[in-house]
Symmetry: C2
Subunit: 406 residues, 2 copies
Amino acid sequence: MVRGRISRLSVRDVRFPTSLGGHGSDAMVSAGYMGARACGPSYSGVVCAVNALAHHVLNKDLKDIVGDFRGFYRQLTSDGQLRWIGPEKGVVHLATAAILNAVWDLWAKQEGKPVWKLLVDMDPRTLVSCIDFRYITDVLTEEDALEILQKGQVGKKEREEQMLAQGYPAYTTSCAWLGYSDDTLKQVGATALQQGWLRADLLVKNLFLQMMDANQRWDVPEAVEWMSKLAKFKPLWIEEPTSPDDILGHATISKALVPLGIGVATGEQCHNRVIFKQLLQAKALQFLQIDSCRLGSINENLSVLLMAKKFEIPVCPHAGGVGLCELVQHLIIFDYISVSASLKNRMCEYVDHLHEHFKYPVMIQRASYMPPKDAGYSTEMKEESVRKHQYPDGEVWNKLLAAQEN
Amino acid sequence: MVRGRISRLSVRDVRFPTSLGGHGSDAMVSAGYMGARACGPSYSGVVCAVNALAHHVLNKDLKDIVGDFRGFYRQLTSDGQLRWIGPEKGVVHLATAAILNAVWDLWAKQEGKPVWKLLVDMDPRTLVSCIDFRYITDVLTEEDALEILQKGQVGKKEREEQMLAQGYPAYTTSCAWLGYSDDTLKQVGATALQQGWLRADLLVKNLFLQMMDANQRWDVPEAVEWMSKLAKFKPLWIEEPTSPDDILGHATISKALVPLGIGVATGEQCHNRVIFKQLLQAKALQFLQIDSCRLGSINENLSVLLMAKKFEIPVCPHAGGVGLCELVQHLIIFDYISVSASLKNRMCEYVDHLHEHFKYPVMIQRASYMPPKDAGYSTEMKEESVRKHQYPDGEVWNKLLAAQEN
């Protein structure tokens, strides 16, 4: 039952001063503006772009949007005035994702289901009608997608029960951010151990070398050289060894490292399905890390999950930021139940930050994401948190900015 | 002699209502905001981003910026708060280009030379010190670049004289925009003929099929199918046959079309040197179309010109928009004199729009760009034009927006 018309789009710039503590800061990206990744809240550039796209969604019936979701997606990404500052990348694409994430949240709430369940219960033809296949038909046609989803119906019920009972395996990256001192590292490491984060099946000698992350620091030859030296620590993967745009570079690195037992993981900064398509075509990655807010929402992520299935590459979502864990859990639980039907070499990132600001925060049990039960996409923030952290007028920023001036 | 400190950055949102007449509108992009491509003027999203980057440039000595231009480029593209909404793509990269274009304009004015001449006279080591080689060393190292530039010194003087006497060959795309009616098409076609735009060396039966442009409309199999059918018209190239992000797709298309005598041209929407690097590695294009405002200004374009030289692929710059012709002529004239040393299969796009708003408009003679003689990067707009077209308060927009409301 889908009803109602969209009469208002509220865009609010909510920021958390995480960069002051070094949380979430890696070698290349400071986390100060990560709020932009969550559903509503958005960094000012993204706010501009959301407002510029607003006319596509205002005064539209929700029924008409989701009834031709592929067409609506195409409409947003083909906006004549905005396409040239993308296309389908950067700020405009983040804005597209923000709008579509809100639409999915609304749709699932009307259906009275969490998004993962909405997706799991949807018939394959409707699922496929949400996907824009433009630019990927050389790898995945509508028919291919249907076939994959139809195969995924087998054993679906059992996998759903399994998820509800055991959850989806997670791994934590709360332990080792670059901004942390040695003491902080020891402390969060010990806490992670206590909380059961060291899963027997993932345990290697050194927690911090289990998976390595280069945060785009290296050129291609450097990445091969460094990782060949570090191979003795047996990392499962090297994440973002070079520029996220360098498909052929990732392919060269994979070719060198796979024989050493090291996989290449990338995706958190891959800007659309065209990049993921090529990473798969070029055998450039062994672990595919989708992001719930960088790609064009669920619509585009669906196409990536299906392409990954076709190439039999495990999806291990990126999370962290503000609300990324809340959102991406829906996608990966759907992926297991309806697409991949496998947990082999799969796990979902988890970062223990800022969940307290969400109305429906993730629930982690025994190092697993437990499927959310509340209707929607778990995107809603608490009104008080939004109010306090709104930039630049919220209480938190008022104080911080005043302190800076003194 | 470089001197002075940058004390103010003026960012103004100047727009021309070109989309009302269909000028510059292709199948995918309306031209309403193309002003953002010119140096100063910028669409509001880009304005936000320029302001967010401003602190890197304010109160800096010009001498320190250009004295470590590679470092300054890296500083802008590595901004911790902005990198994640790129990196090096979309709105933030357009903003980087806007700032750096202004810096080059200033530098050349201080040296009393047009930018092309500043570049031609610069010694190879200094030129190389402007380039950030991050992510391209697997194809072009600093040493490779130096070697190319040193070879380019031979015959430089003669080529400069040749350019000053004859100019750089141009081709016009003013004749066939999608928004034009049949009558308008006939009329602009006839005018182009009279103006000598039909160069003997480019002439084929049908002006409008000489080069074809798909404006990203096709998927890979569609592009091959269509162009195989259209091969009988013997187009020199097919431009933007598919997504600008699809390196492997362009390679597949090239492989199918080159035997039919059709080249693949792309680049106006390629967002950085990493994409160009891969297009060259994959043999995915036969004509490389740089854009003066999409890439990170001259600094990044230098690296692309040098990579193209290494792969012996002709550069045929994209132009049009607002001020793109004014800027890109400097790059291509430098390319001929100091890098490629060849005019074979090379020409620079020209569109006859909006030049009247620039202080130092391009000069076209006998279908060629005549090298600018005024100092700077030809980026400056007339103050009156800026005032009238400023969005939303300029006279032109005031009237248009008021008319819309009535």
